[in-house]
């Protein structure tokens, strides 16, 4: 039987500035070797009409993300969420995060394999 998924990461990508704090916070927490990590920041450059463009960054939890189980067990936030400079990441129960998604646009909810 598949494991019940309960928790996820809500990203408000309107405010992610691409500072990479989440990525390095994860590297520090788990001592990842170069090239590995539980979260990766993706840069998205969007071409818009009338010579306009838009720049987005989105943190993406990889196959190595365990949603910081050792931390959350102690009542701490996942390391990426705690250090996010833009405070645009939130950890929580999927249902609660999904409700928050309705509050504003440019949000994404990740449910990593954990």
């Amino acid at each position: 039987m598949p494991k019940k998924v309960e928790y996820g990461l809500l990203i408000d990508y309107e405010y992610c500035t691409g500072c990479y704090a989440c990525q390095v916070a994860c590297a520090q927490e788990y001592g990842w070797a170069e090239g590995m990590g539980g979260i990766r920041v993706i840069e998205v450059e969007e071409k818009l009409p009338n010579d306009r463009a838009y720049l987005s960054y989105i943190p993406f939890p990889t196959e190595l993300c365990i949603l910081c189980a050792p931390r959350t067990k102690q009542g701490l936030e996942p390391s990426c969420v705690k250090h996010c400079m833009a405070a645009c990441m939130k950890y929580g129960k999927i249902e609660e995060l999904a409700r928050e998604m309705g509050k504003k646009p440019r949000m994404v909810l990740w449910v990593p394999r954990s």
């Binding site: 309107e14 405010y15 500035t17 691409g18 500072c19 990479y20 704090a21 990525q23 390095v24 916070a25 590297a27 520090q28 927490e29 990842w32 170069e34 090239g35 920041v41 450059e45 071409k47 463009a53 838009y54 720049l55 987005s56 960054y57 705690k82 250090h83 996010c84 400079m85 833009a86 405070a87």
Partner: protein
């Protein structure tokens, strides 16, 4: 899991070395058996509220790096040969004392330059050493001192005190403080601040404010993150910021969007300017015993000139109704009658030279965008402007700053909640004396300062900036005129790879010197050319204090790494040796003296961690010019010669420079160099920030390097396609000064007419010895930027707007 017996968490404050920034964040350092095992943001700290940047989060890799310098090194082979001998600290101090002592004896102490870079907490301590040795020549090694000091000095020139974006950083409750107002708009002027937190502002404060409703005007040739999300984005041609600001002023004045009451009461708009000389009318022009420091206005009530007493900050008569506009006639001492007009009229005439149409032609920004942005700025209440280093990186830096600062003054946004707020050192405790400030650490006498390079030529260097002028210093190393330079102390300073323009000239200069000491944490292209290299400590390995504005903070030692020493301790030891009258016994005594105005000792501050000045203190906002908190005499007004905001700068007049804001075309642009532009048809800009690097640092930290692995040049897709350049391909970037290699990134972030090359590149993985010097010549963009083009006041330098051409690196050239 077995718990270690020796585990502790140390609460401290960042300030490089380590993350590379100017610090301010509260952190919790987890120490196990004397080693840093983890670092986290301190959730209780009002500055960063638990957050922390990628560079600080990589501290475990940085502090425990196998390549850290751990013991003093003495050169064993030729300079640059990469042969070193480890010596003890005692040997190192003895050697330095002897060699520098000899130079002092033979040539005088001014023959040694004490050169600094940016970031690290050394400003105060390098001065302490230089002054103890007797040299006034402390130098910031960037051409035109073009990083922050010019902005600060220029603002102080016209308003007496510097000011910055108000993000409620003065209050423990921050945005919740009842006196604070969320800015309706912030102008982010040439700044990608979340990527670097420069200038002592936490970049993401602006993001916090955006979430609370603040709208952004972004002024940037690049599509920065802010530009992407801005209400208005003005993509200006690099170097034309001054023209754009003049355009804003033009619209604001002609549409009556300025605060007339502020202009009349708090600026020198009502003072008179002589039409015959173009200079300010002074009391001494009218009355025999009159003071040249007093100015004159026209009293419309009595139809008579009236003297403005600068020292009393008031008119010499009562019930004066000074004219803001108009031309009048006054009778001079010798009986001649001369026409005079108000500063306001002179200022408006100047501003009227910049109609939007002309500004659009200069800046390449469409007229409609300028008009809409200027209106949006002027109508937003409150509104703050926060600017980045591109403002310094042009020779006409001071007039540009005058124009921008005039904006926040004219719109009544100075020192109001959510506006541009005056930034004072917490409790007036000055550790690191930024321009204009005088701390505990100073030269013995005025005589000792007479030989400071450039102080005789440049007014701001006499009045605000206690540094040697960099371009003149480099030149003097070769000319030896008016005196020879024989030694250099380099601390947090890497001119060969980072801060030095025309870096091959810096190599030549270093090689000409008799004795060079470098103090750093890792070997780099510059340390390779030193005679002695001293291993410095990170911020986690030292006690220090931080009073760069508010709050006042202590930095608390958490660990010791091998024989590494904090910069302050290295300089303290040598200063004691050089100065028989050196008056402190240990660094804590020194800190206590610096902290005296706060009423706390270092130990007491350490217990608190940080402290905010109370209401009523000059370092606590708001409206301090009205409350008489800015001037030493306690009178309302400003610390300028007239006591007012000077739209017409009396200091600039004294220095023989243009007193009113204006625009000057930089030296190497499509407009100023149409001939060169034909050959080099792209604007070359440089210095965009990487979130994972601080200038030339961190290329050896693998968690960071994997995020930004190569020197990148951003090229618009259309430009790249026209040059047959593919994404990720290596290209030569070339101009009349040289060429270097970059990896092409096709991106819409830059316009078709500009490329943006990353700065500070060298390769710690490559051989350190000559001729490689860690591969520094491959991709150091500064090879394409000249020294010696500083502004008329010795400040500013054309760093952001050069010209270049690019072409593919042929396969066989790749190695």
């Amino acid at each position: 899991m077995a718990k270690s017996k020796n585990r502790k968490i140390v609460r401290t404050t960042t300030w490089s070395a380590g993350p590379g920034c100017h610090g301010g964040c509260g952190v919790l350092a987890h120490i196990e058996d004397g080693k840093l095992v983890k670092i986290e943001g301190d959730p209780q700290h009002p500055w960063n509220q638990g957050r922390l940047c990628s560079r600080c989060l990589a501290m475990t890799q940085y502090i425990n790096h196998p390549d850290r310098l751990k013991r003093p090194l003495k050169r064993a082979g030729e300079r640059g040969e990469g042969k070193w001998q480890e010596i003890s600290w005692d040997e190192a101090f003895d050697l330095i004392e002897k060699r520098l002592g000899k130079i002092k004896q033979d040539y005088g102490p001014e023959s040694v330059i004490f050169s600094m870079g940016t970031g690290r907490d050394i400003g105060a301590w390098i001065c302490m050493l230089a002054y103890a040795y007797g040299s006034p020549n402390v130098m910031f090694a960037l051409s035109g001192i073009a990083c922050y000091s010019p902005r600060i000095s220029a603002v102080e020139t016209i308003q007496g005190d510097y000011c910055i974006l108000d993000a409620a950083q003065w209050f423990p409750k921050r945005y919740e403080d009842p006196n604070y107002k969320i800015p309706e708009c912030i102008v982010v002027w040439g700044y990608n601040i979340p990527a670097s937190c420069p200038d002592n502002v936490f970049g993401h404060w602006i993001v916090d404010l955006m979430k609370k409703g603040t709208k952004i005007i972004a002024i940037d040739p690049r599509l920065s993150w802010f530009a992407s999300r801005a209400e208005k984005w003005l993509r200006l041609r690099p170097g034309t910021d001054g023209a754009l600001a003049m355009g804003f002023l033009n619209l604001i004045i002609n549409e009556g969007l300025y605060d007339r009451e502020f202009v009349e009461k708090w600026t020198n708009a009502t003072h008179l300017v002589r039409v015959d000389t173009g200079k300010l009318l002074r009391e001494s022009d009218l009355v025999k015993s009159g003071s040249p420091e007093n100015f004159v206005a026209w009293d419309t009530a009595k139809e008579h000139p009236v003297v403005w007493d600068s020292s009393r900050v008031e008119y010499q008569s009562d019930d004066v109704k000074p004219a803001l506009e108009g031309e009048y006639t006054v009778c001079l001492l010798d009986g001649t009658r001369v026409p005079v007009k108000t500063v306001w009229d002179v200022f408006v005439e100047q501003v009227n030279q910049y109609p939007i149409e002309r500004v659009s032609e200069i800046t390449w920004v469409p007229q409609k965008d300028i008009i809409e942005a200027a209106r949006f700025y002027a109508r937003s209440k409150p509104v703050a402007i926060h600017w980045g280093v591109p403002i310094d990186m042009t020779p006409a830096i001071t007039p540009t700053v005058q124009a921008i600062a005039n904006l926040w003054c004219l719109t009544g946004n100075l020192d109001v909640p959510g506006g541009n707020v005056i930034s004072r050192y917490a409790f007036d405790a000055v550790a690191y004396a930024l321009p204009g400030a005088k701390g505990v650490i100073k030269l013995d006498s005025k005589e000792a300062d007479l030989k400071r390079i450039g102080a005789d030529q440049y007014g701001p260097l006499r009045k605000f900036i206690w540094r040697a002028q960099t371009d003149l210093t480099l030149e003097q190393i070769f000319t030896e005129d008016p005196y020879p330079i024989k030694g250099m102390w380099l601390q947090a300073c890497n001119p060969v790879a980072g801060i030095g323009l025309d870096p091959k000239k810096w190599v030549e200069a270093l090689n000409k010197l008799d004795f060079v000491v470098a103090v750093d944490l890792f070997m780099n292209p510059t340390t390779q050319l030193a005679d002695v290299v001293l291993p410095a400590a990170t911020f986690l390995e030292k006690d220090s204090i931080r009073s760069w504005w508010v709050p006042l903070q202590s930095i608390n030692k958490a660990v010791t790494v091998d024989e590494c020493k904090p910069d302050v301790e290295i300089n303290f030891e040598l200063a004691k040796r050089f100065d028989p009258n050196f008056r402190w016994n240990n660094i804590h005594e020194l800190f206590d003296e610096i902290l005296k105005p706060s009423g706390m000792t270092f130990k007491e501050l350490q217990k608190k961690g940080w402290a905010f000045p109370p209401e009523g203190h000059p370092s606590h906002p708001y409206n301090r010019f009205q409350k008489g908190l800015l001037r030493p005499d306690g009178k309302p007004g400003f610390q300028t010669p007239s006591g007012k905001i000077e739209l017409y700068s009396s200091l600039r007049e004294e220095w023989g420079l243009e007193p009113v804001a204006y625009y000057e075309e930089p030296p190497f642009t499509p407009v100023s160099q149409p001939g060169l532009y034909k050959e080099y048809p792209l604007i070359l800009s440089t210095g965009r920030r990487s979130p994972v690097y601080f200038h030339a640092e961190h290329r050896n930290i693998s968690w960071l390097r994997e995020i930004d692995p190569d020197p990148v040049i951003e090229i618009h897709p259309n430009t790249a396609e026209s040059l047959d350049i593919a994404n990720g391909e290596w290209v030569w970037v070339e101009n009349w000064l040289g060429r270097c290699k970059f990896k092409a990134k096709k991106t819409l972030v830059v316009p078709e007419w500009m490329v943006m090359a990353a700065h500070g590149w060298w390769f710690p993985e490559e051989p350190g010895e000559e001729p490689s010097l860690f591969g520094v010549w491959k991709s150091n963009i500064n090879q394409l930027i000249p020294m010696g083009f500083q502004g008329k006041d010795g400040l500013g330098s054309p760093i952001k707007h050069l010209l270049c051409r690019i072409y593919k690196v042929k396969v066989r050239e790749e190695d």
